[in-house]
Amino acid sequence: MNCQLCCQELSAYIDKELNEKTAAQLRMHLTTCLNCKAEYESLLKMQVMMDEAEVFEPDPAIWIRIERQISKKKADFWDMVLSTLQDLIARYAYFIHTPTLVGSLAAILLILMTFSLYDKYQEKRALMAWVEKHSRANVSLEINPFGSQVIESLDENPFDTFKEVSLDLNVNYFGSSFFSESETLEKNPFSL
């Protein structure tokens, strides 16, 4: 290693950024070149000064201000959403036809109810398929998604291997107990 290359690499050597091979070459050069050694010691002395320079503790109030600002920005976001909605309503209220609005909302509600009932119908079908599979009985299921009547007929006792069974069918429409129906069979209804 020559003096020019050595001086270029001194900073990286002080910062421990040289690979082992280059660092070894540089160390070797420093043992033979007094000028480069003096340069290295001078830079090293300066680095010691920087290492010893004071590290400051931030004021604890900084976090309080950060937290306050973050909360404010989050609140600002929802304020913005709310005020935009209010603006839209205020701007277009004149054009809104009340029967149309009510009709649209009713249609949306009906669509949601249909989807929800269809989901429950699928759940019941899966349950009956399970009973059929495990009891080797034929099970038929009829369901009227818009009515309260659920008709289930079993042409063979699916529980003939059990003395007592407990079966819960719980249909919870829209997460409301008002629409839920439950059937509990404490005893085998098909045993004598």
Partner: protein, 178 residues
């Protein structure tokens, strides 16, 4: 740390507070060394963390949070330098040099205030060189991390750190035996 970053991404302020406890002091000292002013350092630390919280969802690799945070702090300092000029040194070397500390290096040395000497020497540098030197020599970041923070190549960073060291050494040499 990665777990805290993930939680903070979902607006968990407590997790973000833990991240502040981990890096707040480093960011404050980094910004303080760049600006030479405690008031500016407090404001910029606050702005850095608020911006980080807002933009956290855009961070692709959670493991690079530290470098990403420092790059935000650096950008905040640069923006302030462009906006106000103030105490922060301009980006170009040709710019006029106005030391931020009130004491001269001799006065600082006489009072045994090493930190002030270091700060005066740093303030003699243009902001670009000061940034890489503070990150390497005072905050002990690797050259790879510094390259990520300043958005430049490792060889370019290495060259700038060496240039900065020589300039600071020349500055201090006038007053101290180096």
């Amino acid at each position: 740390m990665i777990d805290l970053v993930r939680k903070a991404k979902h607006d968990d302020v407590n997790a973000f507070h833990e991240l502040y406890k981990l890096f707040g002091k480093d960011i404050y000292n980094f910004v303080y060394r760049l600006t030479g002013s405690k008031e500016d350092a407090e404001d910029l630390t606050q702005e850095t963390f608020v911006k980080a919280f807002q933009d956290l969802k855009n961070l692709r690799e959670d493991s690079r949070f530290k470098s990403w945070l420092f790059s935000i702090a650096r950008n905040e300092v640069y923006q302030r330098a462009r906006r106000y000029g103030s105490r922060v040194k301009p980006l170009e070397e040709e710019a006029i040099q106005i030391p931020s500390t009130e004491k001269t290096p001799e006065e600082a040395y006489l009072h045994g205030e090493l930190s002030d000497i270091v700060q005066s020497a740093l303030d003699s540098l243009p902001l670009k060189l000061k940034t890489v030197l503070v990150l390497a020599a005072i905050q002990n970041h690797s050259y790879q991390e510094i390259a990520e923070i300043v958005g430049r190549s490792v060889p370019a960073v290495k060259t700038d750190i060496h240039r900065a060291r020589l300039k600071v050494r020349e500055y201090i040499k006038k007053y101290l035996s180096l």
